[in-house]
Amino acid sequence: MELHVSTSGFQVITLDDNETQFNLHVDKHLNVKLAIPYGGIEALRTSCIELEEGASLTILMKNVKQQKNMLNQQAVLHKDAILTIAYWEIEDGASQIRLDVQLMESGAQVMVRSACIAKEQKDFYVKCHHEVAHTKSQMEHYAIVEDEGNYRMEAIGKIVKGAHASESHQTTRVLTLSDHHNSEVVPVLYIDENDVKASHATTLGQPDENQLYYLQSRGLSRSQALGLLTVGYLMPISDLFDDATYHDEMKNEIEKRVGLHA
């Protein structure tokens, strides 16, 4: 599928199973918000995104099925283009997500977010290349790893020589719900320029027992309390869209997934 966006606004576009490749091109100075529900097809699905000068794209890649999912995306950003790309991975089933972002001209910015519940293998590889000066990348990843779950996040910020006044920041927070899990976070910063700002932060741990006790002391079972904490952990991803209905829908889906609607 080739999607050439020439009007601003919020749209939901569902990817069919036979669409193993979808490319997206956003014209100059447009402000586009897209939610893309799709499902794994047990084959590699590829995607190229290109933002022209001054274009702004917020895109949610929402995996809504439990089949094995392999997604390989590339994004190219031109002058002053802003890309916000988020991955929604709360369904059971293995996923392998690759994203490679090229910040090609000054003023280009990318924000990468993910909200993930790992019951099986969830494997992310995200790389942001700062090819020129005055570019910015920010990565924020939140994951809940369930019993026997397997989560890996490799997040790379690369700032080349000459890309001065660029910024590369990343945060990964992982909450593990059991001792039996395999969680790995690999934060990487390759920096060949002095005049830059860069940071990384990672937390990986179990829920706070004091918080759980507090929630339980008001009548919530341990699993309900964990469910509430999970919703709170993953919901920041819904801030991407102003659309209240879609926001509520996403929240509802996480609540269902963690058993709060039982």
């Binding site: 339980q216 002391s217 008001r218 009548g219 309900q224």
Partner: protein, 272 residues
């Protein structure tokens, strides 16, 4: 008729015995003031009743209307009618007050509370507690002032309607007007639903407002003397020294945390 009965309760924390045989009985409509110097077991007693996993009951029993409280999980104790207003309520980022309270209310109902009924009830309670209307949408206790956290405990108590409430130094962080407001709310709940109350407080003004029907002094893990308002008045005027002499008990002094010193510091080194 609700009755919380504590019999010969012994409790350990981190292998150290804190409670050494507490006996207490609270009925509905009653207000029990639990007094005593810091570090003698008041908060431990309330936490053990609520089921805090850090506190281990080694002997004795707790029953609520004849049901074995010690056999219940923490959430079951809450659903059975117990409520603990905590001294240091947890901050829970990402979980809004409304989501939390709605889940807590639904946990004790067969059918979920309709959304609009819940919103109406929450708005009414927030207004009564003179809190900001955005409370429902804020994350649970996150960024709250000390006073806001304590008022929020009372909001929860009002909405969950326990049969026996325990308030652990709920007055700390509250100004005089807020103290009056909290006391008024408690009185209303006692009149409307006959709630029994156990309150830990060092603040005579708060106890004046609550007008306890019973008072108990806990020293070294046991209740050494019980009485009525005259006991509160005496302690307010004379402190706890007389209890040590009259009842031959030794008040447990809170261990002061020592400042860790470096082996060698500038003040102690000799010049070369």
């Amino acid at each position: 008729m609700s009755c919380l009965k504590i019999d010969d309760l012994h409790v350990d924390v981190d292998g150290k015995q804190i409670l050494k045989g507490v006996n207490l009985e609270i009925h509905e409509h009653e207000t029990h003031a639990l007094m005593g110097p810091n570090g003698n077991g008041k908060s431990t007693l309330l936490a053990a009743i609520m089921g805090n996993p850090k506190y281990h009951v080694t002997r004795g029993s707790i029953t609520l209307d004849g049901q074995d409280v010690l056999a219940m999980e923490v959430d079951e104790r809450s659903k059975a009618g117990l409520f603990l207003g905590m001294q240091y309520p947890s901050e829970v980022s990402g979980v809004t007050n409304s989501d939390f309270l709605r889940a807590a209310m639904n946990a004790r109902r067969e059918r979920p509370i309709p959304l609009f009924t819940f919103i109406r009830e929450m708005e009414k309670t927030v207004k009564e507690m003179e809190m900001k209307p955005d409370l429902a949408h804020r994350f649970l206790n996150e960024g709250f002032s000390g006073g806001e956290k304590k008022r929020n405990e009372i909001v929860q108590m009002k909405m969950l309607k326990p049969s026996i409430a325990m308030l652990d130094e709920i007055d700390s962080g509250l100004d005089v007007d807020a103290l009056k407001l909290v006391a008024k709310m408690i009185h209303e709940m006692q009149i409307e639903q006959g709630m029994g109350l156990v309150v830990v407080s060092h603040y005579a003004r708060f106890l004046d407002l609550l007008k306890p029907t019973h008072a108990h002094v806990l020293v070294d893990g046991a209740i050494v003397v019980s009485g009525g308002s005259e006991l509160i008045e005496k302690i307010d005027q004379e402190g706890y020294d007389w209890i040590e002499k009259e009842y031959h008990v030794q008040v447990v002094k809170e261990e002061k945390k020592k400042v860790a010193l470096l082996q060698q510091c500038a003040a102690g080194t000799k010049g070369v």
